[in-house]
């Protein structure tokens, strides 16, 4: 199972690639609404892509309660192995 640090690194790398901003600062309390190049669909896609890359299966109900970047890290860290 990936640890929170590696999940965080994967999340940040994916967001920076989408935003084409390699040096984008992403503090843990960054609100999902605050990133100009992201919208609600892109956030779901980010989680969906990372879930599959990390071979995890998240609790889908928890998708309704995400506010910050760190919420996504916690969601993925609590996921069970896929399959």
């Amino acid at each position: 199972m990936p640890d929170p640090a590696s999940i965080r690194a994967a999340l940040h790398g994916y967001i920076r690639a989408i935003c084409a901003a390699p040096n984008l600062a992403l503090p843990p309390d960054t609100r999902l609404d605050d990133l100009a190049d992201m919208d609600s669909l892109k956030w779901i896609e980010t989680i969906a892509v990372l879930e599959e890359r990390l071979n995890l299966q998240i609790d889908t109900q928890a998708l309704e309660h995400l506010t910050t970047l760190e919420d996504i890290v916690i969601l993925l860290a609590k996921a069970r192995p896929a399959g």
Binding site: D39, S40, K42, I44, A48, T60, L63
Partner: protein, 352 residues
Amino acid sequence: MTDDDVFAADLHLLVDGQRLTPIVHDGAAVFRLLLPAADLRLVSRVNRPCDLGINRDRRLLGIAVRAITLTTTTGETRFGPDTLRHLPGLHPAPPGTALWTAGELPLAGPWFSQPGEASLSVEAWMLPAYQDTSPASAANHALLLGFENLGENCDFSIAQHHFNTNPTSLLRWGNLSLEQLLAGLDDGFAGLGDPAHAELTWNAGAREYKLRDPRYLSTHTWAHQYMDDPDEREKIRLAGCARLRLLARKLMADLRQPRRIYVFKPREPRPLADFQALHAALRRIGPARLLCVNPGAPLAEAGQVEAAGDGLFIGQIDRSSHKQGAGRLWHRLCLLTARLAETTPHPAAADA
């Protein structure tokens, strides 16, 4: 501008802290006021065009003011865009014939210092929907959050957004026929999000890429820039496929233990038997309750709901959510359905 526009935007004038509501005359919002006034503010609700799928503009915008005309006992003064652009807090609104407020526009100056009766006429464009931030919005948000869209298009989701309610769900921004929905429910949307069945198409009219699986649905991507690079398009397609796989799993899990009342509104009126077929398909998965809303209702019937038994409710509406006033009607439909649902046994109880 119509009365419905004014209601949806909650357009009003604050005159030294007192709220004034306009009447609509010849397409303009007209305020009757008594001068002098030290502090005048034109206030409205706001929204972000990106949240409405109009474009990627993330600014919170109020109304787009074309002109303001002040009429006093001594004459009439008209302020067009060239004058208004000097006021603080206004954004340009292409093609340059209006200026967007950010929800509150201070109107100050010597024009408002002369004592006497006056009228202030505001000519403006509106957004198709506004976020409701009134004190009642928390209750409205909680009510609307108790419902989830199942299609056939995004009409109900736009109404939910008006009440700041943005649930995460497969069909929130989906477009599908009843037949496709029934097929998806019957096989658990098996294979939805499989890249072999998903095509990304450019919709020139909407200036947006849509992701389509011909077996089940078409969905927004909010990608509004045409892309020449096939690799860039493929990234959008594959990320969209991953989203569909995740949200299909979520929908099927939610249907087994539903927390919400599902909403289905066909593009054209459908007979009761069609709604009963959809309800039966949902009930084969779990104890879901369903509100089916038929479009094209006569004005007198719009906003009415009837219970059809076993958690099925039939409502009527007369306009799409792109028309002003639709938010109010959807709120009424949800309120009446929630009340009916409270007074009828939950299907789960019958299953037990």
